[in-house]
């Protein structure tokens, strides 16, 4: 076969016979039929223009987050996207380069990483942050494995809040099962918040870390100082995971309350929501545990002329030196998305981030007030608990049914908790950001009134 000319019919026949398959469709037999789309009838081959036009028309019948009022969140958030972010991102120097194997020659990349670390460090309240990780879920996993290492593998239990995003907990289960670490889940109280007594009871003296999310999966802000104290009382490390990074513009990161690790998802910082990502994990810890931190770390130094320069302070240890002794399998970082977050944060600025977060909070509070005013059969699941920009709404039917019915009224009301059951009612998680003008709130309120 020619390296850059596609396989011909004879090549395909040969490959299939080598694989013992009858047709190309057999290659995809493992895809569950439930996720396959039926009813798209396409001819075997057409010219490019026909394909673009026909498939384009088909695609335009999809509803996007931007085409109707949208309150989707649950771990992925829609925030302002200044055009400077994509402009910098699409520079070939950044866009096409792979992780620098001769790092110091890529001063621009190192400077970006250094600035990203600095920003994360300031937002989380911890003095060391790494160059980024793949996503929030793996950052939680790394935080748990980190805690296990810091306590020298002597404590084999991790206590996780049930109100950590259910997908994060599934990823954690996958890793901990393989690592032989036990996971105990602590349920929230009636107010959707964690009870430190319940944590202490489950943790005993066996836990290497207590992991909590704030704002939690239900959108509720946890009492971080109390939770950090509970973790430390049990001799465990305190881990905070953040899924809505914009909340850090208003709510101090756990580092300021004694948390040993603050990690999470920074997609909100300049990475547009997309099917399957990309996402952006971050990880910050106290510098005394630096050597147990996963991933890489860029540092500031001076070159031979005494000018400011950047270097890869820690990295090769995983890839080239430590190998089997590595602290994690993370050798690189989510470079391009870290760049997006850095440009985004530097464009928005410190006071800008605070304003943005304040506006999310204010709109959310306004929507909560208006929904409460709509009244029966609609209600907030946790009316007394403090939230940031997301909350759980209960109505006449399952969350999935409600979302479907509200969508037919022209509103994407949020993410149903129907498939993510737990110690909370089946409802709709609604997220509000600065991208929701007051007309969006009107649309949702009107739709709810219609369905009352």
């Amino acid at each position: 076969m020619h390296p850059w000319v596609g396989a011909g019919p004879e090549d395909r026949r040969q490959i299939l016979s080598e694989l013992g398959l009858q047709s190309i469709d057999d290659l995809f037999a493992s895809i569950p039929s439930g996720v396959c789309v039926d009813g798209i009838d396409l001819p075997p081959a057409r010219d490019e223009d026909w394909i673009r036009r026909t498939l384009g028309n088909m695609a335009s019948t999809n509803i996007s987050m931007d085409s109707i009022p949208c309150f989707l969140g649950a771990g992925v958030y829609r925030h302002v996207q200044p055009s400077v972010v994509d402009a910098v991102l699409s520079r070939a120097e950044f866009f096409t380069s792979y992780t620098p194997y001769q790092p110091e020659i890529s001063q621009g990349t190192l400077q970006v990483i250094f600035e990203f670390q600095t920003l994360i460090s300031r937002l989380t309240g911890l003095d060391t942050a790494n160059a980024s990780l793949y996503d929030g879920a793996t950052s939680l996993v790394e935080a748990v494995l980190f805690s296990h290492r810091v306590l020298r593998g002597k404590r084999n239990l991790v206590v996780v809040a049930e109100t950590i995003h259910p997908m994060y907990r599934r990823v954690l289960d996958t890793y901990t099962e393989a690592a032989g670490i036990d996971v105990a889940v602590v349920a929230p109280g009636d107010d959707g918040r964690l009870d430190p007594e319940a944590i202490l009871e489950i943790a005993g003296d066996r836990a290497c870390c207590i992991a909590v999310q704030s704002p939690n999966f239900l959108g509720i802000v946890e009492d971080l100082p109390v939770l950090a104290a509970a973790a430390h009382d049990s001799g465990a490390l305190a881990v905070e995971v953040v899924t809505e990074a914009v909340s850090l513009g208003l709510l101090a990161g756990g580092g300021r309350f004694g948390f040993d690790v603050v990690c999470g998802e920074a997609q909100s910082f300049g990475v547009a929501p997309g099917f399957g990502g990309p996402h952006l994990g971050f990880f910050a810890c106290a510098s005394k545990h630096l050597r147990q931190m996963p991933g890489r770390l860029a540092g500031e130094t001076v070159d031979e002329n005494g000018s400011r320069a950047f270097c890869l302070t820690l990295s090769t240890r995983e890839q080239h030196i430590r190998r089997a002794k590595a602290t994690s399998n993370i050798c690189t970082n989510q470079g391009l998305m870290a760049l997006a977050a850095t440009v985004w944060l530097e464009t928005i600025g410190g006071s800008g981030l605070r304003e943005l977060a304040t506006s999310c909070l204010a709109r959310t509070e306004e929507l909560k007030r208006r929904l409460t005013a709509v009244g029966d059969p609609w209600r907030l699941a946790y009316p007394q608990s403090p939230t940031f920009n997301e909350f759980l709404l209960i109505g006449p039917g399952s969350g999935t049914e409600l979302v479907e019915r509200l969508a037919s009224e022209g509103v994407l009301a949020g993410v149903p908790t129907t498939d993510w059951s737990g110690s909370w009612p089946d409802g709709v998680l609604a997220a509000v950001t600065e991208r929701n003008p007051v007309t969006d709130l009107d649309a949702l309120v009107n739709a709810l009134e219609k369905l009352s």
Partner: protein, 127 residues
Amino acid sequence: MTIPDDLMYARSHEWIKIEGDSVSVGISHYAQDQLGEVVYVELPEVGTAFAVGDELGTLESVKAVSEFLAPVAGEVLEVNTRLEDEPNLVNDDSYGDGWLVRLSGSAEGEELLDAAGYKEFLEQESA
């Protein structure tokens, strides 16, 4: 390449110094030279017991990470906490301030080399 006469040596390049009923452990001048500039030392916890040949900890240099092993069986009585901030002591003073741990236990019955034996061992190794 210095090989002090008053120490015993393991074939994995640790030295031990007998001090009453305990021994202190470090790595030889040859070993630190092979490793290059040490940037991080991972030490065991005081109170942990080790058998001969167990991994006591790791030494990370700019070019390699290698473990150092227990040359005798025993419990960790003390670790050199100065190495947390000054790992380069392992290079600068491998037989003195660059010591790693102090273990309970004795060298009796262990297959250790004296200075002359270690020198010969190194010559064979490099041959």
